[in-house]
């Protein structure tokens, strides 16, 4: 199958999956729990439809694509912030520490983004395009860094994720990681990589859509109550440790 036809099929698949995701979110009344993610999903669906409508005109497509990309990026940051708030709701004692660590992470990521903007060379001949790609690369670094921070922070504190919040973060993280790698390579290799960049991007987005749908539709896992160990087990453990100490 030629690459262009393959791309079109992937595009239709993305449209179908996005429509399904929007329906699932609406059925689950996601505007109460994840209003920004709902906005992000609906926006992506509208953007995909709009891009399909204007794909005949090169200039209109260019401006529509990059405008949608910028809005999508802002909404992506909104989703990260929303998830951050959601996972911290049951732990008010952690809020202060989390805020301080998060601010530090944001500053470090902004510095890293600035370094990328300053140091990254571009294989793109068009200066405007080169600037857009470097800016997107820097922004994706900040976004991916924040998503990584969410996972690292929650793992360090052993925080419990609700299934849907975990799925949303995982899907967004996967898409952002692939998008970052793709935009970096596209920037490095120039226009030769445009088509490959497009295929990789849409494949990554479709994968994220499947992840989102999977986690939203799967039933929430019930956290089991603590298993109380038997006294014999406790004694065995104590004995083993005492032996280790006195060795």
């Amino acid at each position: 199958m030629p690459l262009k036809a393959y791309m079109t099929n992937l595009w239709f698949l993305a449209l179908a999956l996005q429509s399904l995701l929007a329906l699932v979110l609406l059925a689950k009344r996601a505007w109460n729990k994840f209003p920004v993610f709902l906005g992000y999903s609906v926006f992506n669906l509208c953007a995909a439809a709009a891009l399909y409508m204007v794909h005949g005109s090169r200039v209109t497509y260019f401006y529509t694509y990059w405008t949608c990309e910028a809005i999508g990026l802002i909404l992506g940051f909104g989703v990260v912030y929303e998830i951050f708030g959601t996972i911290l709701v049951p732990y008010p004692a952690l809020r202060r520490v989390a805020t301080v660590v998060c601010r530090t992470a944001i500053i470090l990521l902004l510095v890293l983004g600035a370094i990328v903007i300053g140091a990254q060379s571009s294989g793109e001949r068009n200066q405007i395009m080169a600037s857009i790609l470097v800016a997107e690369e820097a922004t994706r670094i900040v976004e991916l860094g924040l998503l990584m921070f969410l996972f690292l922070f929650s793992s360090a504190f052993g925080l419990h994720w609700r299934q849907s919040a975990f799925g949303i973060t995982l899907g967004l993280g996967l898409f952002t990681a692939v998008e970052l790698a793709a935009v970096t390579l596209r920037n490095h290799l120039g226009t030769a990589a445009t088509q490959t960049f497009g295929v990789v991007r849409i494949l990554a987005f479709n994968t994220s859509l499947v992840v989102w749908l999977g986690y939203l539709l799967a039933p929430e896992r019930v956290t089991s109550n603590a298993d109380v160990p038997k006294t014999a087990q406790l004694e065995q453990w104590n004995q083993a440790v005492m032996e280790l100490i006195s060795r």
Binding site: A93, L94, A119, A156, F157, G158, L170, L185, A226, P229
Partner: protein, 170 residues
């Protein structure tokens, strides 16, 4: 060079997400016992000073690293128990009984502090493992953990579903 760094960052992120999915599947919420007396012995700095004075340098370093390895297992267990308590405290915090909700909030606060102390203790122990001549006493953990036990026990007494066995288990 920058391209390689950015690609490496993206790959590391994918590995991190994969690890998160795997550890989420493994998460059991089990409470495992901690012998605080043995833990206190391991953390006793006087004991360490005594050994330092009695043993040759290389033997002391070897012994100290062994002690650190065991201590790290204890700290990891305390950390895991604290997060299991955090998960269980979530539900109790929403209890309609104000005294239960208040006790649960205290338990959550303590469990959070313990998680933080565990992270600090792990960092200090890792540094001591690398440089055994260092002595970075992470001594706050045992009394805090004892306090968590007492609070979980109190919460168990307040709730209709008695969680007293849990307090003795941790």
């Amino acid at each position: 060079m920058m391209t390689v760094i950015v690609i490496a960052l993206a790959l590391f992120a994918v590995v991190l997400f994969y690890t998160a999915v795997r550890s989420r599947r493994k998460q059991t919420g089990q409470i495992r016992p901690v012998d605080l007396k043995a833990f206190r012995t391991l953390m006793d700095r006087d004991d360490e000073l005594f050994l330092r004075g009695k043993l040759p340098r290389s033997k002391f370093f070897h012994l100290k690293r062994q002690r650190i390895r065991v201590t790290l297992r204890y700290v990891a267990r305390i950390a895991a128990n604290a997060s299991a308590v955090l998960r269980m405290g979530e539900a109790a915090r929403l209890s309609p009984k104000p005294e239960v909700a208040q006790a649960a909030a205290q338990v959550l606060e303590l469990a959070t502090q313990i998680r933080l102390q565990c992270l600090i203790a792990m960092g200090k122990l890792a540094m001591e493992y690398a440089m055994p001549s260092l002595q970075l006493t992470p001594g706050m953990l045992a009394p805090k953990y004892q306090s968590l036990r007492e609070n979980v026990s109190r919460l168990g007494d307040l709730q209709t579903q008695n969680r007293a066995p849990l307090a003795t288990a941790i």
